[in-house]
Subunit: 261 residues, 2 copies
């Protein structure tokens, strides 16, 4: 039996922070053909709301420390505000969107990250994705929009990296579908020269990824981000692409991740 | 063909404001037999978060004026915080909960309330409930948890009364299911004497409801609340009951609404 195709698309950063850029992106997203699913981050919206509530934001190596108060903020901002704004806009564009978190339908189970040098607080590392209900929704042409929150199964919500969620959902769906994972990005792809948006590396393999890290072309927060992409392609996802958000529907743009040369 | 049964249960007020009372209620809810669906309000949680954000709350006749800032607050608090706290707690109790708003899957369309004497702002009056996807979820044993938010189909979220949402969803489900609607309440039911929790009126018909209003036994915010109940029973919902939350699973308690004597 030929597998049906699904595109898992991740968007975050500045694009979701502002109404206009988000709306521009959602116009492109609504034109993506076939079954699709959106995973979103929150950009700096959570930081902004936290500030308004008098709650301080602490970031360590680009990751948010999530104490009790910050968990309240991200649950509200990611699970409520950003998620529902996206869903309302998609509905207006004729897309039958359903906004959820990893907690809903027990979609994504995680465990609280163990405290080593850094206590990240209520941050979850994904342990299991259950795609059974997701599968039915996709087949009914519902476009699922996932906020970057998971749970531990004992009533605790956990803040979870959106790039990782996109990769884990794509991997789990790959058991049933032919999956393409697309990370929408502010730059044109993975760049050889961070200052030159025309220096896109067209393809990355696990071997060349190691090389890029060694040569410090890929560094800092880009390493875990791209690790998710490499992991996905090694775990059954057919195609992984990282591209500028405005190029979402231009298949040949950006950086493609491949299992081997 | 015999219709399957569904219970639509509404909870709000103080019960959802505090973690302990909410958890007590969800224990009872998880024990409700058969297919069920939960509609929740937000109690004063939105007022509390608004205050923390420096946003003033204005209530007119018990209804929240929802300007741009307040819409942000209720979208976060109802659609994110309260909804996901409930879902996480239910998942921990083995209930396969899915938290949504009326915007998700285009479940509840509404129109912005026309400005007459009072401008309620982004408050929605329900125009249509589309139960097609809801029906499939119920049959797959997913317990849907609905936050009191709707949309206008043009990208605008709208704050919508939770009692009304419960009634409208129950009415729409009644086309396909045998529906019981239960309003969970702080008091034991509709009381003959507001000061005496033992003075529960066991049954109300449309005719006796008019009489109760005339005699001012039912007044103020209780009138629209009970109007929803009367409307539901006149529109195909099999049984409507208003009862103390702790009596959720005691079928004979509270006030029953009937079509006629």
């Amino acid at each position: 039996m030929v597998k049906q195709s699904v595109k898992v698309i991740k968007v975050g950063g500045k694009i979701v922070e502002e109404k206009d850029s988000l709306n521009e992106f959602l116009k492109l997203f609504s034109k993506v053909s076939g079954h699709k699913l959106l995973v979103h981050g929150g950009g700096r919206s959570a930081t902004k709301i936290a500030k308004q509530m008098g709650i301080e934001t602490t970031m360590v190596e680009g990751r948010r420390i999530t104490d009790d108060n910050m968990l309240t903020v991200v649950t509200m901002v990611y699970g409520g505000l950003v998620n529902k704004q996206i869903v309302a806009q998609l509905q207006a564009k004729g897309i039958n969107a359903l906004g959820i978190t990893g907690t809903d339908m027990n979609l994504i189970r995680a465990e609280k990250r163990p405290v080593k040098e850094i206590d990240y607080g209520y941050v979850g590392d994904v342990t299991k994705v259950d795609v059974s209900v997701l599968k039915n929704l996709i087949k009914e042409d519902v476009t699922v929009v996932i906020a970057p929150l998971t749970h531990d199964g004992h009533g605790q919500m956990l803040n979870t990296n959106a790039d990782t969620i996109a990769a884990e959902v794509a991997k789990a769906l790959a058991e049933v579908f032919d999956v393409e994972l697309i990370y929408c990005f502010e730059k044109s792809g993975v760049l050889n020269d961070a200052e030159d948006d025309n220096s896109v590396i067209p393809a990355i393999t696990p071997a060349s990824f190691e090389d890029l890290i060694e040569r410090k072309i890929v560094q800092g927060g880009m390493i875990p981000k791209l690790n998710n992409a490499v992991d996905a392609v090694l775990s059954g996802v057919n195609k992984v692409r990282i591209t500028k958000a405005s190029n979402l529907n231009n298949d040949s743009t950006g950086t493609i991740f491949m299992k081997e040369d």
